[in-house]
Symmetry: C2
Subunit: 174 residues, 2 copies
DNA sequence: GGCTTATTCGAACGTTCGTTCGAGCCGAGT
DNA sequence: ACTCGGCTCGAACGAACGTTCGAATAAGCC
């Protein structure tokens, strides 16, 4: 809170005039952030029918926000699940909606192409790929969101579509 | 430190008799953890020549340790890069060696199969997939390390081997 | 038994943290 | 001119933190 006070130019007590506690302030930041990501995603998905393209849009939307707000996302990733009961559940609901959208995109792809893979593990692997970026991405060295989304989309889509073909002496898995 | 004192049964001051500071204690834990992972990996890779199998071993080794020490890895993931200069560089060196091993495995696969993808992004995506597990894995619900390593191996190997075939109207990328 | 050395601990120190309080400032309304 | 409500702040409070210190205990050796 003292850091925020210094950075914003407002006194420490002044912050508490607007935000009743540090926890509520974190809650507002998290709610705003995750709501924005979900809202932008919905807008971008409208009218797109190709299943692979929809997943690529999901990845690009996610990475763009993460890289544009890298410092913030670093904190938010570390501060996941620290909110107490009341605050935590509302943020958790938004995250759950986001997760469910991704599950839906994958289920659609599975149905359309007759694929077989574990949706939950695939979705959480994808989130891992994307979220881990805050630990290594250096804007001066690494490619931009669009390029990275392309590469990750290649790996992920190639994986869920052709994945189990690479098991030696193993039939398609249930 | 007070938590450790309570959990270990030794007084707070007693801890400082054995570990000169909280930072040095964290350093010892990190060094031991990452050294163990690298050491086990090297043992398991010995004698295995198939490139895909070697990457699957890498994934299994990583996930097994992460799931067997989930609470610890949750902390270590959060405490990455908090060590000051002296301590930090030694741990960073071990991590870099681990990273380089993974890069080597992928480069071998690329060469053997004539593939084209960005190694750095692929490696860091794989780390993301695997490391993110501490945020969602529930031992009572989710599969064990072996099963998860199989699924993630399918996705990752399928992705790097067949990835760019899924780009619409796009040639293989450089 | 005495003496030395290793181990353990309660109590405290100084700092940082989240938060609160009371007093001051300032512009709008009467 | 006076007041009132919104806004801002310096200063402090109590708790938690990493760390230290001196004394108490235990263990090994003569």
């Amino acid at each position: 809170m003292r850091d925020l006070s210094r950075a914003s130019g407002m006194s420490l007590a002044g912050l508490y005039y607007y935000f009743e506690s540090k926890e509520r302030l974190l809650f507002l930041i998290q709610r705003h952030t995750f709501s924005t990501i979900v809202q932008r995603l919905k807008g971008r998905l409208e009218g797109v029918i190709d299943h692979e393209e929809r997943i690529r849009i999901f990845i690009l939307n996610h990475l763009e926000y993460f890289l544009a707000n890298q410092q913030a996302m670093k904190v938010l990733s570390h501060e996941a699940d620290v909110l107490k009961n009341g605050f935590g559940s509302e943020v958790a609901a938004i995250k759950r909606e986001y997760y469910r959208i991704c599950v839906g995109l994958l289920e659609d792809l599975k149905r359309a192409q007759g694929l077989e893979f574990a949706t939950r593990i695939a979705v959480l692997s994808l989130f891992g790929m994307m979220n881990w970026i805050y630990t290594w991405h250096n804007p001066r060295v690494d490619a931009d969101a669009e390029h990275l989304a392309g590469e990750m989309g290649d790996i992920f889509l190639g994986g869920v579509i052709n994945g189990n073909k690479n098991r030696e002496k193993t039939p398609a898995r249930k």
